[in-house]
Symmetry: C2
Subunit: 324 residues, 2 copies
């Protein structure tokens, strides 16, 4: 795996860099879930991570690594109105750097407030990809900032991989891991770590309907329309259709071709199950992986696949507007 | 403390009896909660315990102890439509004994279903205390069952105390613990364990408004109307006004006289905080202790009181009818 943009050694280095700032998130089991799935399920609750999602891992690793390379680094810039924006704001504050988070001016007020609450400068732009990129680039140059992208970056990927180190540290004989997938940073990091520790493990992507990832993985080609589309899904954390240009080759090499595409109804049922039976507040993207674990597709998989890790990637949902 | 109905040794014995069936529940921190309270808060999440509440601890200990005393025990009976009913049903199944749970026929259908889902025989009675006691007593005699009361029993109290062993095992220098209190089984067990391990620790009861517990503790007398009333509160897990006849002397000896009485508005805010910021599904009774931790009363307490344990006692709330 020497040709991968991030290696197992990078993930170990990330763990050493970030672990004093972050939680080692707990792994939960549920006998009801096991009965329903016919498998032994292990839920990695990154919903309980700092900032409420796994994104804190990658953002913090990338920012610390950038500062190691350039100790006089003057600040951080990124674009995201979601979990990555919060994570960059939080991680920059940890490190003592100013951060600038570019969001479309149409973003929800509560998301903007969450980013500002972590101490970031909020920069509004027109709600289109070109304005977003231009604003980021202008800030980067003007203020000599480091740009931290949401997934397509080796340090971000390495940071996300630390979730798999923790999960396999707790359950070392997993047969598979289910990972909610949008741009692919989380599943890339997890696949690099997990396949190194346990080459027989299967790493499955979970997505909303319409992802096209299975076709792309089987054909080895990027069949997605460019620029990337947003899927029409309740799971706003995983609504990007295509995975990144850095992450796609990693998935081609390490992920299973078979993808768990879940409908909104299934995602809501997965969320409900985790709220009701496991007593955890999760966002819809995490509901998707719970739904995949409880799906008929999982139940009907080869019986040699017994122990399955389920990544509950985040908990940032609007509790005033739960989707049931 | 030799005259207490349950001792520290009983709690250690309880731990040995029950721990292989139960979770060691995690302890969470929240920098936001610490900022708001001016204290260092440690949230013990028994919402994540088997059956969704601490009640599994006491019920299982009492049933295992009863079986040790009488190996030919033929079954268990109790009355409760709430967490204790589910806990007795679950614990009886663990031990391999049939259980009979008496509930008022007016109890909510979802609560009855939850008890039956754990394999108990559900026995309906008229919705009044006399019918409940008579039904329990008739079943007990007819079927030679052991009656496991919800709080006023040394083995139940000893089981609940295991929560404090775990909490102090993780944070050994706590200055205080906040405990949601209804009949008083949980706070009795916690006080016995915590004061033995750390005599300087302060154990505070948390309740809805109207509990009268502070007056009773200060006067040393049971000032409550008999039979016990139900408080008008959203926190249905802690709606009993008076504590028990076994638990009251324990509280007189070991608990602080000062009681945190919380309004429904405060309880709802406490619940919301834990859902939104800590990503945990909790019931209103647990919201009460979060509210107490975040209250002005806590903030204004002696600054020598720094590290505070907060018992999140349960997570059994109706996620279709959250109170906001």
């Amino acid at each position: 795996m020497a040709d991968l943009p991030a290696t197992f050694a990078d993930i170990i280095a990330a763990k050493q860099r970030i672990s004093k700032y972050l939680h080692k998130t707990p792994v939960f089991t549920s006998s009801t879930a096991d009965e329903l799935s016919g498998k032994q399920l292990f839920f990695k609750a990154d919903s309980l991570q700092k900032t409420g999602s796994f994104k804190a891992r990658g953002a913090l690793n990338a920012i610390l690594a950038a500062k190691e390379r350039n100790p006089s680094l003057s600040g951080i810039v990124t674009h995201s109105s979601g979990n990555h924006g919060q994570a960059v704001a939080w991680a920059s504050r940890c490190v003592g750097l100013p951060s600038f988070v570019v969001v479309p001016k149409t973003a929800a007020a509560n998301k903007k407030a969450a980013i500002q609450a972590y101490g970031a400068h909020l920069i509004e732009c027109e709600p289109n990809p070109a304005a977003r990129s231009e604003t980021c680039e202008r800030l980067r140059q003007e203020k000599q900032l480091e740009f931290i992208p949401p997934y397509d970056h080796p340090d971000v990927i390495a940071g996300q991989g630390t979730a798999a180190l923790e999960l396999l540290d707790e359950v070392n004989d997993l047969d598979a891991i289910l990972v909610p997938t949008s741009g692919g940073g989380l599943i890339s990091g997890i696949a690099i770590a997990a396949k190194f520790i346990r080459p027989s493990i299967k790493v499955f992507a979970v997505s909303p309907k319409g992802k096209m990832l299975e076709d792309c993985l089987r054909s080895g080609e990027r069949l997605w329309p460019e620029p990337s589309q947003y899927l029409n899904t309740i799971a706003d954390g995983i609504q990007l259709q295509s995975v990144g240009h850095v992450t796609f080759p990693i998935l081609l090499q390490l992920a299973e071709k078979e993808v768990f595409e879940m409908s909104d109804d299934e995602i809501i049922q997965g969320m409900r199950f985790v709220f009701q039976r496991m007593k955890l507040v999760i966002e819809a993207a995490a509901g998707a992986s719970a739904a995949a674990a409880l799906s008929e597709k999982m139940r009907s998989m080869d019986s040699s696949l017994r122990k399955v890790g389920v990544i509950l990637c985040g908990g940032n949902t609007d509790i005033d507007r739960l989707p049931w």
